[in-house]
Subunit: 153 residues, 3 copies
Amino acid sequence: MDQTLAHLQSLGLTLPEVPAPVAAYVNCVRSGNLLYLSGGLPMDGDNRIFGKIPSDVSIERGQEASRMIILNRLAVIHGELGSLDKIKQVVALNGFVNSEPDFYEHPAVINGASELLIKILGDRGKHSRTALGAASLPLNVAVEINLVVEVED
Amino acid sequence: MDQTLAHLQSLGLTLPEVPAPVAAYVNCVRSGNLLYLSGGLPMDGDNRIFGKIPSDVSIERGQEASRMIILNRLAVIHGELGSLDKIKQVVALNGFVNSEPDFYEHPAVINGASELLIKILGDRGKHSRTALGAASLPLNVAVEINLVVEVED
Amino acid sequence: MDQTLAHLQSLGLTLPEVPAPVAAYVNCVRSGNLLYLSGGLPMDGDNRIFGKIPSDVSIERGQEASRMIILNRLAVIHGELGSLDKIKQVVALNGFVNSEPDFYEHPAVINGASELLIKILGDRGKHSRTALGAASLPLNVAVEINLVVEVED
């Protein structure tokens, strides 16, 4: 039984389908106990969050984009490991915000991701983090996030 | 004998000279079985690809820049390990495109790198990936790519 | 005794207080022998370096920002490990410069960090590196730098 998945569902959340990479790469690669996840995008079926923050997309909607990405990154981990219980520690999170040159609130946007990780995973979700503004992002998504995760043997 | 290098040459490709870092850092650092490569630039002697995509540099030329970087990153690995056969798996690739704010085709540009890695290395070349737009890049190069590679003991 | 800290002090430098993360993450996470440090900002009490390079902030001042970040990253490592002597090797440094679209001297700015690491740590400070221009950075800081560091058992 996947207790972490059960907890996630008890929070009213669900894992989306494992997303298909948008180009010639794979969703994740494991090396030893580290799982490297590709940059995830805020896309789930028809629900897609496009545009620059804050002119096209509000900070609140950017936080929603960050949460969407965490759920699809967890779907990738679940597909790879078979259980979210095998997550030992989220090690690093890099969050890229599709920003205007005068936008300074990247931490607030990426907190959508960080807070959801901690809500779902508890102490295992506490991570080092880098948040910054990209000049542009693939497909014009509002946020892109990659992760390095330590997993059980 | 370096079978990977032989395969690379059979594709009509050659490894360039190992590039000199453009500042106070080294081309790669190994920690355990992971080799971390510095951000590579599309420069090989007089052949250098400068400018923003797509206004100065086309997507096709950006793909060529991505391929140049993969070849000079492989030259770094070859210089470090003595043989490309010691590459066990390309783990992570981060690709930065010197982009206008309204450019959204970073995946197509970085596919130049991803597809060449797979062509040369087969399954060992399949990697997790993050592609995004930088506001500007060192020396105004069109693309910059770093890698994390798992190597044999 | 922390010989590295003594050396740092003999250079006329001091470690600042360990900075508080500006959002919902932690300063560093250790996985095996690798310590992943969050993106550090050039802020030490009232001394904060804000703005874009080179319009608001000169290259020289950007180098000073890079040095400030290295000192606060070393403070984080010291707080985590108890001694800077336990640093085995700086493995990777990612340096993000808050840049105008036509700024190309990111290597000079990030050299402030790279050269200080080597001055303090000697060969242990030699690292792989990626430097690039961000469209914008958290709080409008001029530079942001994260690190991956190999530490003693």
